[in-house]
């Protein structure tokens, strides 16, 4: 994967801020003069469905990532990371939240979710780099669970896999987010980045 051209597949559950995170990363790229296109599917998201979106850096024109074409999978929920894994080409990278949001069948006791250990094993089977980030916990430390999405973005920008650094993300936040939530989101980015840097 070239550092300057990356296809990033986002996976999450409605209400997690996956689409907000998508737009934020795309804006950060644009602010830095990196060619960018992003894509999202709307509609059922707010009703607990799977949310899939994409950010493509470095000159792609289509916003769609097909199976086997993603360089990075960014999973905002652990089981959705596993579901999204076929989008990744072997040797790609995964950044995933360790948090679970149980789907209805699991809540109803009819089905079971895979364990985090099983998800990590499946991921490590096919990727060169993976990070499992306790996003909700770090977000609470930053000030609110609502920042779990920016924790993961901060982690992504600290990996060196894309031409954006945590500071680029924070600069974009300065004009993209409301001042009320800015400092906690800065902190969330820092905590996500620190998690990656500590290896």
């Amino acid at each position: 994967m070239s550092k300057d051209r990356a296809r990033i597949h986002f996976a999450g559950v409605g209400g997690q801020g996956t689409l907000t995170g998508t737009t934020l990363l795309a804006r950060a790229a644009l602010d830095k003069g990196i060619p960018v296109v992003a894509g999202e599917i709307h509609g059922m998201a707010q009703r607990g469905g799977v949310v899939e979106s994409s950010v493509l850096l470095g000159g792609w024109q289509s916003s769609v990532i097909s199976p086997g074409q993603a360089d990075i999978v960014l999973g905002f929920e652990a089981m959705e990371t596993l579901r999204a894994l076929p989008y990744l080409h072997q040797g790609g990278a995964v950044l995933s939240s360790t948090d679970f949001i149980p789907p209805p069948g699991v809540s109803a006791g009819r089905e079971t979710s895979p364990t985090l250990a099983a998800i990590e094993a499946a991921v490590r089977d096919c990727v060169a780099h993976s990070w499992f980030v306790p996003c909700r916990e770090l977000a609470r430390e930053a000030g609110s669970e609502q920042c779990a999405n920016t924790v993961l973005l901060g982690a992504l920008c600290a990996t060196g896999l894309i031409p954006l650094a945590p500071d680029d993300l924070k600069k974009t936040m300065d004009h993209a987010l409301s001042p009320r939530i800015l400092s906690m989101n800065h902190k969330a980015v820092d905590l996500g980045a620190a998690f990656v840097n500590q290896g």
Partner: protein, 615 residues
């Protein structure tokens, strides 16, 4: 007012495709906007709504797409540049006036946005509305990037005003919902000046004698527009090589990406069709004649392909033509790997196989879209199943309430389109003799349910209609409709009382209930079950999301399980409320999800209420 879409700064700005369309329309000088919301088109009118205080244009949410097109068409006759927006199936509703407008022309300039949905991300079909460009005769633009979405919208308006012919702007889900950089052009101070209406019944009143003449005018105008398409900058060539590709729509993007990724830029010559109807026939003929093989790349139907094949036959062009076939089908969306494979085959290349990660070893639990916690539709469906069970047949309609189709609610047996529940249910009951219920939401009732209700009364049908009145257009993002509370509509719109409309349609058996009151709901259903003819129950209760976000109504109570008994387990199974969690220890209620509707408490004595968060 300041909004980034009104900015004088050229940018680039990161915009959703649908937002870029709004900016393009403003740059052209749009004066009137009408719509019926529908994914993936809804952000266009919703963005205009946010900008309406700029005073640049008039905008409305019309009651359906036909009405929206007629309002916009009338506005264009009145001299304004007008935009009407809808999803692809909406254009079926609006098709009748569309055809006539192409005959008469509209001097102010009308652009029709059709947002198509190949792959049925949120629709009942994959219809390709480029067919309407051919069928009704509308010039058609198909953007593939956010920048093009803005620029083509502007150019569509300029063409519509210059020629007086309505213009189709056709997007697909991927274009409406991509985000990309957009550099702005100049924004005029105000809307474009009105083109004064000159009374001319010999043109604008299409009685047969007029229509025969106007048909000829239309064909002449389209021929003149084809000449523009021949030299339009939106139909452009790039690359070099013996393989020629004619690409349109989103396929243009996949093609560019494949050429970039594989380094095939010098092996393929491309003709991109952005201004895709009428086809630039001379340009296509010259292009087709100058390559050794020709591939037509277009998602959905092989429309360009058929025209290119016909053209080749007519002009004696012997170049082999490829299009649909192999991995390029009419189904779903095209993709980067599909286009790469098709090109590789024609170029005689081998491609490295993709090495996708394997993913899960077993099928993962799904996340089917579900009715929200506290959704009144769940309360209705629960009571309906208690009273009618599988004895009755359920004619559903389009809205959130369609999500009641899955068990345990299982409240949808058939569905055609917006507004079909009452009329399709009437026909079903007539032929089958089965007890039939129709479910229809408030916005859908105003969209096209009323005519079905009038028909049911007029023709003495036997149907129980349940109007699920949640006070908003919930599915598409809480747009206004005539049923919305007057206090929320503000001064620009007038609330219509659904019960008065129903009675005005001649229905005498009408009752209004609050479905979260399960006793009242059940008794209304039992009463109506004993009767025959056209009966209407108006189940009135605000959408739970709308109540929280817009009405700022938060229940201070939530349910919790006081006693794990059989009633609790049964209620959890029969309601399938997303706030419930079941485990080997029993049922629990997630207080952060519980909306406090207390339906569970009424049907199972093991539930009780408590204040939320120590309130």
């Amino acid at each position: 007012m300041s909004h980034h879409l009104l900015s004088a700064e050229p940018g680039p700005h990161l915009l959703l495709g649908n937002e870029a369309i709004v900016r393009g329309a403003l740059e052209a000088g749009v004066g009137v906007v009408s719509c019926y919301p529908g994914t993936p088109s809804s952000e266009v009118p919703d963005t205009f709504r946010m900008l309406r205080e700029s005073g640049r244009f008039y905008m409305e949410y019309s009651t359906n797409e036909k009405v929206a097109l007629e309002v916009a068409g009338g506005a264009a006759l009145g001299g304004a540049m007008a935009l009407v927006t809808m999803k692809h199936v909406g254009l079926n509703v609006a098709a009748d006036p569309l055809f006539t407008m192409c005959y008469t022309g509209l001097p102010g300039g009308l652009v029709v946005l059709s947002a198509d949905d190949p792959g049925c991300h949120s629709s009942q079909d994959e219809q390709d509305n480029r067919s309407y460009a051919r069928f009704a005769q509308l010039p058609c633009f198909e953007p593939a990037t956010a920048q093009e979405a803005k620029d083509m919208t502007r150019d569509a308006f300029l063409l519509a005003r210059e020629t007086g012919q309505p213009v189709l702007l056709r997007t697909t889900t991927r274009i409406s919902h991509l985000r990309g950089p957009v550099t702005f052009g100049p924004l005029p101070e105000t809307a474009a000046p009105l083109v004064p209406f000159i009374r001319n019944p010999q043109r604008f009143v299409p009685v047969p004698a007029v229509s025969r003449l106007r048909h000829k005018v239309l064909v002449g105008n389209m021929e003149a527009i084809r000449e523009k398409a021949e030299t339009s900058p939106w139909n452009r060539e790039y690359g070099s090589g013996k393989l020629g590709v004619i690409a349109s729509g989103v396929a243009r993007s996949y093609l560019r990406d494949v050429l970039l990724a594989e380094g095939w830029e010098n092996e393929v010559r491309v003709l991109e069709l952005g201004f895709s109807w009428p086809l630039p026939l001379e340009r296509i003929a010259a292009f087709a004649g100058s390559v050794e093989k020709l591939l037509v790349l277009e998602e959905s139907e092989p429309l360009v392909e058929r025209d290119v094949r016909a053209l080749a036959q007519q002009k004696g062009i012997r170049t082999p033509i490829f299009g649909k076939g192999g991995n390029l089908t009419v189904f779903l969306e095209y993709s980067f790997p599909q286009v790469r494979e098709a090109l590789a085959l024609l170029l005689g290349k081998t491609i490295r196989p993709d090495t996708a990660c394997a993913g899960a070893e077993r099928e993962l639990p799904q996340r089917p879209p579900n009715l929200c916690a506290g959704c009144a539709h769940r309360a209705v469906y629960y009571s309906v199943r208690q009273v009618f069970g599988d004895e009755a047949f359920y004619s559903s309609d389009i809205g959130c309430y369609t999500l009641g189709l899955l068990p345990p609610l299982a409240a949808a047996d058939f569905l055609f389109c917006m507004g079909s529940s009452i009329s399709a249910g009437s026909g079903f009951a007539k032929s089958s003799g089965k007890t039939t219920l129709a479910f229809i939401g408030d916005s859908t009732f105003f969209h096209s349910g009323i005519t079905g209700l009038v028909n049911a009364v007029f023709n003495k049908h036997d149907i129980l209609v349940i109007i699920l009145d949640n006070g908003t257009t919930a599915m598409t993002g809480h747009q206004p409709n005539p049923g919305v509370d007057q206090r929320l509509l503000g001064e620009d719109c007038v609330h219509l009382d659904i019960e008065a409309v129903v009675r005005g349609c001649g229905v005498s058996q009408v009752v209004k209930v609050k479905p979260s009151n399960t006793k009242a709901m059940r008794s209304a259903l039992e009463t109506m079950k004993e009767r025959s003819g056209v009966r209407v129950i108006i189940a009135e209760e605000p959408c739970a999301l709308f109540a929280r976000r817009v009405l700022k109504k938060n229940h201070d109570r939530c349910a919790f399980v006081a006693e794990q008994d059989e009633s609790v387990r049964r209620a959890a199974a029969e309601l399938a409320c997303p706030a419930f969690a079941c485990s080997k220890d029993g049922v629990s209620v997630d207080a952060s999800l519980c909306a406090g509707c207390m339906v569970c408490m009424q049907i199972a004595r093991g539930f009780t209420a408590r204040k939320k968060d120590g309130q």
